[in-house]
Subunit: 239 residues, 4 copies
């Protein structure tokens, strides 16, 4: 197996994990920066993540053009991925999803913030981006480079940006890192939703959140979770 095939295999696993853990359903997607040509990224053709196979993966340039002119329909919202890779050289994997537990925080003024250690990876600040601010009434989908870049500006230097009435985009240094963030983001949201009803909430301190920096993107503790989620998603043979 060459290096590209390995990364495509990892991307297939990432798709299946997100589906199996309930982060995505029929919609949502995950990409990885191209390991050999960093001005492009790998993303499935328009297909539900649970069903993605290696043959579905297409290389795109940052402006959303399929390299080699692949004729199969792409995701309408692929511009989310290109814009984030373009703006952030430190990012190697991107997830877009509309996990249910995250959505209430996108339509209210109550800020989502990390309150459990497993979610410290999501970062101290999660901005909310509203497509209506600069583009008026739309169907809320991010369907061209201008909208993608506006979203990337909303993300700024953070790990996760919430999208009003829509979902979130998460940016990681590796596939295992962005998957871990995407799984624990709704977990943290559910904990916070319940805790807020019990009274004042004691969140993680800035120092506690920054302690995640000690984890390298290829830390063994991240691969432990990767193995677990992959096996649960029926991908034991792809590991």
């Amino acid at each position: 197996m060459n290096d590209l095939d390995f990364h495509i295999g990892q991307l297939v696993i990432a798709n299946r994990i997100l589906a199996n853990e309930g982060v995505v359903d029929a919609y949502g997607h995950v990409s990885v920066r191209h390991p050999l040509s960093p001005e492009g990224y790998l993303l499935s053709r328009s297909r539900s993540p649970a069903l993605v196979e290696a043959g579905d993966v297409i290389e795109f340039t940052f402006d959303g053009t399929p390299v080699g002119g692949d004729p199969r329909p792409p995701y309408l919202e692929r511009f989310i991925h290109g814009a984030i890779y373009e703006a952030r050289a430190d990012v190697h994997a991107v997830v877009h999803a509309h996990a249910e537990a995250v959505l209430p925080f996108t339509i209210t003024a109550s800020p989502l913030r990390p309150v459990v250690h497993a979610a410290s990876f999501i970062g101290a600040h999660l901005p909310v981006w509203d497509i209506r601010d600069n583009f008026g009434d739309t169907n809320l989908l991010v369907v061209d480079p201008a909208q993608g870049r506006d979203l990337a500006r909303g993300l700024g230097s953070n790990r996760v940006v919430l999208m009003r009435g829509h979902g979130f985009a998460a940016a990681g240094r590796s596939l295992p890192e962005v998957i871990r963030m995407s799984v624990y983001l709704p977990h943290n949201a559910r904990v916070l939703l319940e805790a807020l009803r019990l009274g004042e909430v004691k969140g993680l301190s800035r120092g506690e959140i920054e302690a995640h920096a000690a984890f390298r993107p290829d830390d063994p503790a991240m691969w432990r979770a990767w193995e677990y989620w992959a096996v649960r998603a029926g991908c034991r043979e792809l590991l």
Copy 2:
């Protein structure tokens, strides 16, 4: 496979999807307007949606009479379907269900409304119909043409009507559309239930809701979800 067999197969898939996604349980049903004779519709005999097979599907006239005198027991509430097809020439598929997350909005004054883009299809306004208003104390089931027509009036020109203490009826331009509405209706309800506890909720604007009109009933994005839900429901071989 002739055209009628194809539509019956689609209806079987629709039944299985609704069951597998938790929209219906032992009760609830889905119909499609007859593709060849639009003054009738196709609906299973009285059977739980998870178990419906092609041989269970019966053609009914709008008044609930089985064409050809099929002797098997029909759903008591088939009058919901006929009345909506009769009143709305634009409707080609109908779902009746009592998905749990929708029910709180049928018994309180808090209005259900679309707050996430995936649910923009349910429309801006979801009226609540109460059988008690015109029929007094009943067991809440819609069991004759008069009750069905009263419900259809409650629906009016909307996409979804809530039924007090009972569930909802959804009207779509195609099976994939009405299934998508029925899956995202309880999803939207759960998001709204949580958001309301966090404070003021920023819903979709009228313009954002109307942007769904750009989707045709046979849009490829709808078929992507249809494929996903069908495979999850064990219907890969029926696609």
Copy 3:
């Protein structure tokens, strides 16, 4: 198959349904009045409902004595069943469980009541019985005939009695009826829990609740659900 074997088979299905629908877990049980000798009842030996097989079923007299001196350990709480059969000639099947969604209503002053038509079977009034009232500090289990009879008095002429900090007992005219009540009781509880946070709740009227009386204990609509739940629980071959 003789009549007794048929009823034992039905009881096995009932056990599996309750486990599969999440009404019981490792604990909880269901019995049926003996079809041939109505002064006794059939109940599994002490075993988790998901695992009960025909050979586990034992006949008991109302005072909890196994007929024929079966030496296998019985459920500690079998006295719930005998006491209810003794007090209520109309009851032919009993469930005891501690379904999670019901429990909040056993430890607060907020009354559980039917708000959706599927739960009209649970009756207009659900009393809460507290073992501490007459027996002081115990481990809350109903472990002798006196405690069982006290609980039966708490049930009175109702369908369901809630047990403080413990669960509920449901009394039906047939196994399908008591299973249906037991499945829709927590469903109704979840709907009510959510609705109460939205504001004033419009419950079922007395007349609407009484409309369930039109259903006979062997109504076909009940068997439709029975078939569905049995197949889901892996009991297709036992039907």
Copy 4:
């Protein structure tokens, strides 16, 4: 099978049960005091509990050193286990997990307490330990003997200690007992979360909680649940 193999087999079952019941996910662990040399304990190498096999189990001394110098990476947080065994001769099994429903009670002032009889085993008082009190800003993990001993002091003579923003540690007299505690702890938390919104909550009395003392750590009622959970977790052949 010798005695040690039997206990290792039980530990494998315990791992699988915790994963299957949702108490642990990719992270969390369970240990048992060594049956032959009580100054040590048995714990898997660093692996997700759902995937643990007999060959993964390593013997550790209380200070976290693998006996015989096993070179495989251990859990970073094994110090939780050694410190509790060291401090509490009555404890023979320890679980560490971050079950979602428990977490809100670790970050608010609302005390978690037993309100249903199935959870009486968790004890009357559940202290909350905050690693920040004595160790300042960390990544919240318990990664050395000093932190482990501080946590054990936080546990004191109780059954369960909550860990702020992190999870809990539970100490039992046997594996079945600590598993039962760990399963019913989040169940009790969910019931309490809902009940608190309904109004004043009637908890278990001190006498009711102490009635659990009548249960011996090898009580048959505990083995009934063990059999059920093990079969659900796919461990029928390991029983």
